[in-house]
Structure formats: structure tokens, C-alpha cells
Symmetry: C2
Subunit: 479 residues, 2 copies
Amino acid sequence: MAEQKKLVEEITSMEEDFAKWYTDVVKKAELIEYTSVKGCMVIRPYGYAIWENIQRILDGMFKATGHENVCMPMFIPESLLQKEKDHVEGFAPEVAWVTYGGSEKLEDRLCVRPTSETLFCEHYANIIQSHRDLPKLYNQWVSVVRWEKTTRPFLRSREFLWQEGHTIHATAEEAIEETERMLNVYADFCRDALAMPVIKGKKTESDKFAGAVSTYAIEALMHDGKALQAGTSHFFGDGFARAFGIQFTSKENKLEYPFQTSWGVTTRLIGAIIMTHGDNSGLILPPKVAPIQVVILPIAQHKPGVLEKARELKERLAGFCRVKLDDSDNSAGWKFSEYEMKGVPLRLEIGPKDIENNQCVLVRRDNREKYFVSLDELETKIPELLDAVHNGLYQKALENRENRTYACKSIDEIKQVLEEKGDGFIKAMWCGDEACEDSVKEQTGVGSRCIPFDQEQISDTCVCCGKPAKMMVYWGKAY
Amino acid sequence: MAEQKKLVEEITSMEEDFAKWYTDVVKKAELIEYTSVKGCMVIRPYGYAIWENIQRILDGMFKATGHENVCMPMFIPESLLQKEKDHVEGFAPEVAWVTYGGSEKLEDRLCVRPTSETLFCEHYANIIQSHRDLPKLYNQWVSVVRWEKTTRPFLRSREFLWQEGHTIHATAEEAIEETERMLNVYADFCRDALAMPVIKGKKTESDKFAGAVSTYAIEALMHDGKALQAGTSHFFGDGFARAFGIQFTSKENKLEYPFQTSWGVTTRLIGAIIMTHGDNSGLILPPKVAPIQVVILPIAQHKPGVLEKARELKERLAGFCRVKLDDSDNSAGWKFSEYEMKGVPLRLEIGPKDIENNQCVLVRRDNREKYFVSLDELETKIPELLDAVHNGLYQKALENRENRTYACKSIDEIKQVLEEKGDGFIKAMWCGDEACEDSVKEQTGVGSRCIPFDQEQISDTCVCCGKPAKMMVYWGKAY
């Protein structure tokens, strides 16, 4: 059990204080640093490199599904924001307002985009005339601002990085298909790149995006049993098109309103990675997005031949994975802790005895299993072990979620489960009435997370009012 | 001469009105679209794809020289902006001010970053203690805002995309070396990726970046003889460190101030590409950054086998270049004009006769030369021709610059050259006195562009006052 000991003493343990554990990790793994503007953070190189990997993989998936990148301005005139009624009601209270350009007071205030539907609509109205101009499948990688009261690094900040997809189609069917397609892209990405299982579903009416006909979401369960909304995809119908006067002539030469979607994921995904996989020694990064996949630590590096061998291995590994060699004069113990803290999936140790035996030691970060591997086999063994770490992380996260998902038939059962087992997903039936949704939250503290596409029949009646149930809902406390 | 005819009639010719030619091209090649906020534009997919290629190549060069990407907030508190006296004087008059967050008035106004020196300094002060923490070699890809009065797409906009490198070093020597290194990276990039020759030099005192000890720049000459500053690299000395209280303990255990640099290029480079290479048929894109390097146009595409062959070629070419097949039902003439307008470096025509002869026609966009190429040789011929286009563009731009660069020994000579030959670079000697610099501008209309690293001895005396000259300066009218 020597390997199981807590190597980095400065992190608060999860069990003691999960929120403090989280902020310790983001700071000490050097993902972020605070600034003098509340809710605005510096994303440091190690944190930003995770985001670059997320971007690269997702951007490839967007392009493979026919999307093109564009870049809209960051400012929205107040008059433009006000064109769609529900949308402005949802966002106006939490935007940052630019009122001066230099020393000149602006006639029409500008808000810093909290999201860009209105800008895309203004643009569509300029460039879409005919059915030949449709669909437009756009995306942009930018930052947005929402003036939140309480903020936490990655999870809820006033400025955050994201991508926002915006598409416009000739028919509602096509737009709905797109909304679903992109939710699936997100779910696949979470599973295949982040090793994070998610529930796909639809938000209830009360929880929809401002201006949407329907909002789909992927929901993940964190280590502490709280739910995290990891991505959303919205179907807008033709509401925005009507509000912004976007029309096209159809093949039948009739003037029609097109249908829109939007979808987005944010740097919040980094928070999700931390709280899905991390442990009391720090981060554990899924190999696909880890800035460093293998760290090489020379053992007894002052001994002849060790550093040379380590450098040679680094060159070799750089051909097929993201590798770092730490040949600094810090102690081996310090280095072990440091890269555990930073969540590097594989540690490669190489010392004089290993060199003698033409081998090295590989240690998995997720379960600390140790492997003695011939130096002739690294090209096959390392990719295998990285895959094993990925699969191990996914399985562990899936088990955590399953162990913390409870089917409940009554309000009392929900209360009892939460009290006995702690936070988690509650599966319970719902009649579809908003009053019941509110009442569940009020009585138990858990809100509706989503109406999953994979429905189950927990019981016949609404968990709240006892009337016939229409659907199963996932409930939970949310980040 | 049939091939030389102006294929796209809607563009104003350069000779008629260069400024109008420019805006016609950016609009009709679908690089940008205007918005309701003056000076803020939509960068459309074709324009943004050029920027993505610029980013990818430059980002690789930055990483190869040891730099890491980070992300700073977009907001700077007014109190923070004011810490460095010269810097705030330079930027405060032209920033956008956020004064409200939601409905709450902010105590300390926030400006939307016009550049991020102050944010980096605040961060350095938090993370730098010892010489072991140095150097930090950072970069970020973001947008910035400067409240310009007159705006033009890409050349001068209120919001623009850029990268800003920020580095901090233990010694002035190291920082100066970095400043020069990054200017060289920019110059190499312009030559190797944009086919654009540049002059490397130092800005005069009056033309330095606000807060810099010295500013280096690369200057390019556009088609119309006007100069364009294409990139800058600044050495800050320890001025910012002193203003922000950034100190480190040296190896000798003394408390010292570190030295800083910053350097940046912007979406202005897209404007430079347009005005360096474009012609009266539209854009001409350097192959390295062209979103489409080869466009395949099937001829008589209704004839059996043509579309199948064109699709087969597309799959094949996708393995080694960026290729598009246009199999729409638009006429061949329309397609020729469209892709000329869009500046695609190579056009591949394939029709029934070509297929019979196992060949295709390749046409260079830069000089419209036509090649009949065996279908067996595309893997070698296409890369060769793309290189030829690149070199052709570079040579043409270099010749244009050389033909429009004039050595002058007196104010009268400058006036005469400008009147007889039109705008261009003027090489003339200078005593170093700011009064003379101002006087040259006032009398002739050309300002100092830079003091080139490659000095020549045009004469012994200052072009203005006749006193002994200290250096040669490039003068010109600037964008």
C-alpha cells in the first residue's frame, strides 16, 4: 500500500471539503490564477493546453459534420439584443454594458456578448435570400461574458471560453435533426476524449434556453454526487427568424421563414474533468486531452548514462505521444508528487538498473499499477497503456454514476435516499406539471436535470402529485 | 490574350480607385460582412479560414521557439491600466469602457483590453519570485478593442483578432534577443507563408509603442505604393516591472527587476495579403494560407464519366492538399470567375477529352499559365506548381517594392519622386532630430516608417536640415 499514500500533502482531501479540494487542485496544478477582476481568471499554460486539445478534437468533429468557423463581433447593440423578447429577458439582467468609446458617450449601449444568437440573426438577414443559401452551418470559438454573482473557476465565471454553433435550415425537421446530431457529437466527445459518461436528454420547459423551443443537454455526475450540465443544444423553431425578418424564397418560389439551432460547450468541461476523475493527490487527466501524456523521470540521474538514455527516450516517444522529460535537479519524490498532482496519465521511470536490463518502469496515474516494460516495446505498450487509462477512467466514472443513481417512487423515498446515501441522480416519474417540478425541488432540494432519451418506467404515477406519470426525469443538485 | 481578360466585371479596377477595389474584394470574395456596430465586422468562413491557416503556422513557430499559450481576461480595471504612465496615455483615449455589470454600476470602470501588458504584469507579480521562475515565454490568441474614428475591414477596425506574445526575462540582453528573435519569426513567416517581402527595422522615438524602450517593426509595400506595418516587437526594459512591483531573487540572492517584451500580428495581415497580391479579377492567395489550394472544375459535367472522375480526383488530392470540387450546376464561366475572385492558387479542369488522354489542365491563378498534366503525375506536379505560385507571388511583390523604392538626398527630390512616380518607399538620411522627422512629413506627406537594420549610405547629410546624418530611414505614406 506504499504507493497508495497521499503524496501531495497540501491539497485538502475531497472527503473533508470537496469545494476546497477543487479550488486547491485548480490552483496547485497551475490551471488558473485569480485576477483583480472578480470572476475573471487567467488560464495558465497547463490549463490552456487542455483547452487547446479539447478545441482541436471538437473542431475536427464539427468540420467532419460540415460546419465552418466564423467570427462575430463581441459587441451587441442594446437595440439588437431586444429584438427577441424571451431572449432579452433571459440575458439582459446579466450582461456587461459598454457605455463609452474613448471619451465619447455611446448613443446605443453595447453589451459584451453573453451569447451570439442576435448577431448571427442580423448576419443571416444580410446573406440569406434563397433556398440555395441554406443551410448555413456555422461555429465560432470565442469568449463570452455573463455577470454572475457567485463565481468559481471553470464552473461559473464572468468571462468564459466556449464554442457556439449556429445553424439555419429550410425546414424544422432538418433543424431538429441538427440539434440532435450535435448533442450526440458532444456525448461521443465526452465518452471518447474525456472518458466521461453523460446522460442525454431534454430540459423541462422551465429550464430551456431563453428563446428556444426546446433545449437538449448532456448531464454528468461528479465525484461528490452533484450533477453538471456539460453541453447544450437548442432548437429555436422559426422564432428568431420572425423576430429578425430572415426570409428565403423556397424552391416553390414562396417566401418562408427558416429554422435555427445553436449549441455550445465551454471551459466548464475542464471543471467536469477535474471533478469526474481527480483524487486526493490531484488531477487525473484523460490521455486524449492531457497536455503531457507521459512524463519521463530519470532515477539517479547523476549516474553515467542515465540522462543520455532519458533524452534518447524522449526523442523516441515524441514521435507518437505528448512527452515531457523532467531532468531538473528536484528530488525524485518531489517529481513524483508534482506529476501526480498534474494528473499526467503515465510516468516512465528509468534508472541505471533499468538501463542494464533494457527496460523501464511505467506507472499508471489512475490506479498506480506498475509495469516493467522492455525498451524495445514502448511503441506498442505506451499507446496500449494510455488506452487502458482512458478505459479505466471511463469505467470508474460510470460505476460512480451507477452507484449514485437511485430510482425513487415518492418524495419520502427521495428524502430518505439523499439523507442516507448523499447526493446523486434521482430517477423519478413526473406528470409534466411545472408545479410538481417546483414542489419536488422545494421539498427535497433536487431539481430536474433532464428528461432522458432513454426512458424507464419507475412507477405509473408522478412522484409528487400521484397523478398518471408522463415521463421519467433525472433529478439532482446541480453545479 | 483571351485569358488576360477581366473575368469578374463587378470589381472596381485598382487603377480607377484602389480603396474601392479593396472593399469590393473583401466583400465579393466573402471575406467579411459589415454589422450594425461601426468598425466591427463579421469574418466569414472564407476569411476566417485564412486566419486559421495563419494561426496554425505561426502558433507552430511560437511553440518551436519555446512559447506557451495562455488566456488573460478581456477586462482591465481602470486603476490597473493607469499604473504605467506612458502606457495609459497611449491607450486610454481609445478604449471601450464597461460601466455596468447587469443593472449594477461598477465602482472601478473596466476597459475592454486594447492590449494586455497590464494584465500580464499583474499576473507576473503573482507568479514570479525567483530566477528559477524566469523566463516566462507566453502568447495568447484573442481579440482586442480600440475605439478608432475611421475604420476599414482588416486594416483598421474597432475590434480585431491578433496574437500577443508577452515574455519576461532575468536580463535586458535576453529580452532584447527575444524582441529580435520574434521580429525575425514574423519576417520569415511573411516571406515563407504569405509570399510577402518585408523591411525589418526599428521605429523612431516618436513612433514607439506606449511604454516601450524600443519598438521593432516589419514594413511591407502595398500595390498602391503605400506602406503597411505588418507586425511589431517591443522591448520594455524594466519599466513595467518597476511600475507593477515585479521582482525576483537572483542567483546571487539579490532582489532585482526583470525585463519584458511583447510582440503581435493581427488580422491586418489579411489586408496585407489582399493589397500585396490581388489583381483586377480579385484575390490571389499565397498557397500556404489559401483555404482552397486547388479547385476542381469538371468540364461538360453532364457527359458520362466526368463527375465520377472529378470525384475520384478530389479524394486523391485531399491526401496532399486542400481541395474543393465544384460540381454545382453553375456555368463553367461563372465558376472560372468565382474562383479567380476567391484567389484559389490552382484551377484543375477535367473534361471528356482530358479523361480520354489521361490528363487534366492546371491553371495558375497568379499568371494564368496553363499546363497539361498527366493524371499519373498529380502528386508531384501539384506541389511543384503550388511552390511555383508562391515563388511567383514573392518575386512579383519584391519587384513591385524595388521598383517603387527611391533613394532621395533632399526634400525637393522626395517631392519630385512622389509627384512623378507616385507613392512608394523613400530611402533618405536623417540626423535623428524629431523636428526634422516632423518637417519631412509636413513638407512631403511621407512619415518615417522605420530605421532598417540593413543600413545604406544614401548621402552624408540629413535630408531635412543638412547636418551630418546618423542613419538611413525608410519613409512612406502608411495604412
